[in-house]
């Protein structure tokens, strides 16, 4: 596929170098600080990159271990979506970071590639307000629907108290309509109130 695939075993390039060669436009940077391989990618083309990470036999990242975001206020770009992956076959790990600017908090959803991402993305949206395009059901997970704001953002004070939620209207009682033919003059029995 690429020249790096033919290098001899004694000089096996790190996985991140392989990725950078395969996706030169997507990969912005890579490092392995602390022995933890990390690659920083652009939002454009991230789905192709993740699909490569899952399906290419040299990567084979079948476990999507974690998906979260970091708020680096006041640094720009402000947010970073951080995905941790693990391969059962090769037993290697990778961290993929997608920096996003304030005001453009949207990335593509990877829940079609790994089902685990579904709930992780919901939680990320709940806590940071980052939208995931293509997610089947993006709604709050840990917090209640009337919650105002996204608490893990740095501009949300941790001592802030939310207003009391007014009592929700009781849903209409589920009334079973039994299609029964009653003789004339007999009243249909009503459900007990």
């Amino acid at each position: 596929m690429t020249a790096s695939a033919e290098t001899p075993n004694s000089a096996v390039p790190p996985l991140t170098a392989l990725l950078q060669a395969a996706f030169p436009q997507s990969v912005r940077d890579r490092h392995a600080q602390g022995g933890e391989e990390t690659v920083i990618v652009r939002r454009q083309g991230m789905l192709d990159l993740f699909r490569f990470l899952r399906d290419d036999p040299r990567c084979a990242f079948d476990l999507m271990i974690d998906l979260t975001a970091v708020d680096h206020l006041p640094r720009t770009p402000r947010f970073e979506v951080v995905v941790h992956l693990k391969s059962l076959a090769h037993n290697h790990r990778l961290r993929v970071k997608i920096p996003i600017e304030e005001g453009q908090e949207e990335v593509d959803s990877i829940s079609a590639l790994w089902v685990a991402a579904d709930w992780y993305e919901r939680e990320c949206f709940d806590m940071y307000g980052i939208r995931f395009a293509g997610h089947p059901d993006l709604r709050r997970l840990l917090l209640y629907p009337e919650f105002a704001g996204h608490p893990l953002r740095k501009d949300y004070d941790h001592r802030l108290q939310q207003p009391r939620v007014p009592l929700r209207a009781v849903r209409e009682r589920h009334d079973y309509e039994m299609r029964v033919q009653y003789p004339e003059g007999v009243e249909k029995p009503r459900n007990p109130a």
Binding site: Q33, G34, E36, D62, L63, M64, I65, D66, T68, V70, D71, H72, V82, H84, L88, N91, R93, R95, W114, V115, A116, D118, W119, Y120, E123, M127, R140, L141, L142, L143, Y144, P151, L152, K154, Y156, H158, H174, Y176, E177, M178, R179, V180, Q181
Partner: protein, 397 residues
């Protein structure tokens, strides 16, 4: 009398809320189930009732202050959370923990793993009717909590590890107490084994229930006993060895089908393996210190604090400013009772983390609950949810 054939009975799915406050909900989880008779047609799991803002609080505390918060994550195995978090911060600092402290951590972590499994299996047994087994396992758990209380001072809110080691050494007489209690716990586990594992009622409730195929389990990023029950031998202690696990000999129990019975069996066998690990570690326990001498993150001995100026300054800096790891980030995983418990900590050089993320293992299991329950009866929710071992503190932090 009107004959039954003349009646036209319509039916539509019934929505039942298995409300947050429910004896079988292991804490508080709300399930909106859509039922067709007794069969579950759809299921929506609503969590968040125990969300306490661990990550937000961690961003506003210094690194030593976060250790008590980690106790309350997976609160049935608090020492595993303590060790996992401390390991992550030690990685940021590049600190070495003394060998004696490492062995002590392994002993306490495996004790925590046994208490986690005893709680899960006891609750599972109780909910399908075997109340006695729950009482026996709780009794066994009490023996282990006596050990934890000897060492840390508390049964659940242990707060035992520090950055670079532990808060205190294992007390005198601990090892003999340990072997005595382990014998008693093993006897109780054997009783539970004899009561349940060849019991037709128990097997009928558990076998074939809540099956998730290996491919789906991997796509849901299952780890721990749930993944091993599906047949994948993934254990963080073997895959990414940490602490002194490479020197200890243990097997990884693996299931085949991935139903509730397999998960039960995997956890039962893991308890026995944990006891073997504890016995090996207590034999190999070396002499030495319990806390590193590196003063960037650990408080010095009181004798040094009150007799030398360096000790005084070190103590002052750590108490007032907290430990300050160099800027960087780390993802460190340990094998929790439920699976891969990961800590992702981002530091910018100040005393408070930019991000202190916990990767909760049971989050994935509860996300998969919908798929595992659809098609089963309402009564099957109980063994399935029990086998998932949802711990609210860990799921929702």
């Amino acid at each position: 009398m009107r004959r039954l054939e003349n009646l036209d009975l319509g039916a539509e799915p019934m929505v039942i809320e298995i409300g947050p406050s429910h004896p079988a909900m292991h804490g508080i989880t709300r399930m909106l189930t859509k039922l067709d008779g007794e069969v579950i047609v759809d299921l929506d799991v609503d969590i968040g009732y125990l969300h306490r803002g661990f990550e937000k609080e961690a961003e506003n505390s210094n690194y030593i202050q976060i250790v008590p918060y980690t106790d309350r994550l997976n609160y049935v195995s608090p020492l595993i959370n303590n060790v996992g978090y401390s390991m992550a911060v030690e990685k940021l600092f590049g600190l070495e923990v003394p060998r004696r402290a490492e062995f002590a951590r392994v002993i306490m972590m495996e004790i925590s793993r046994i208490t986690d499994h005893l709680t899960c299996l006891g609750a599972m047994a109780m909910e399908v009717g075997a109340m006695s087994v729950f009482i026996w396992f709780v009794k066994a758990r009490e023996y282990l909590w006596e050990l934890v209380e000897e060492v840390t001072g508390a049964r659940l809110t242990t707060n035992w590890t520090r950055i670079g080691g532990n808060a205190n050494d294992l007390p005198d007489g601990f090892l003999s107490m340990l072997s005595d209690r382990l014998t008693k716990v093993e006897a109780v586990i054997d009783e539970g084994d004899a009561m349940l594992l060849r019991n037709k009622i128990f097997i009928d409730r558990m076998k074939g229930v809540g099956i998730l195929s290996k491919e789906r389990a991997v796509s849901y990023a299952f780890t721990g006993p749930m993944l091993r029950a599906c047949g994948v031998p993934y254990d963080v202690r073997r895959a990414d060895p940490y602490s002194v696990y490479p020197e200890l000999d243990f097997e990884i129990p693996v299931g085949s089908v991935g139903d509730c019975f397999d998960r039960f069996l995997v956890r039962m066998e893991e308890m026995r393996q944990s006891m073997s690990i504890i016995r090996q570690a207590s034999e190999k326990l070396p002499a030495g210190g319990y806390l590193t001498h590196d003063r960037r993150a650990s408080l010095p001995d009181k004798l040094d604090v009150f007799s030398s100026i360096e000790g005084l300054i070190d103590h002052f800096k750590i108490v007032m400013e907290g430990p300050k790891p160099p800027p960087g980030e780390t993802y460190t995983a340990v094998e929790g009772g439920n699976g891969e418990l990961g800590f992702y900590i981002v530091s910018n050089g100040t005393g408070q983390p930019v991000k202190c993320r916990v990767r909760p293992p049971c989050f994935n299991f509860v996300a998969a609950l919908r798929e595992m329950c659809i098609g089963h009866y309402v009564a099957d929710i109980v063994p399935i949810f029990g086998s998932v071992n949802m711990i609210g503190g860990e799921l929702e932090r």
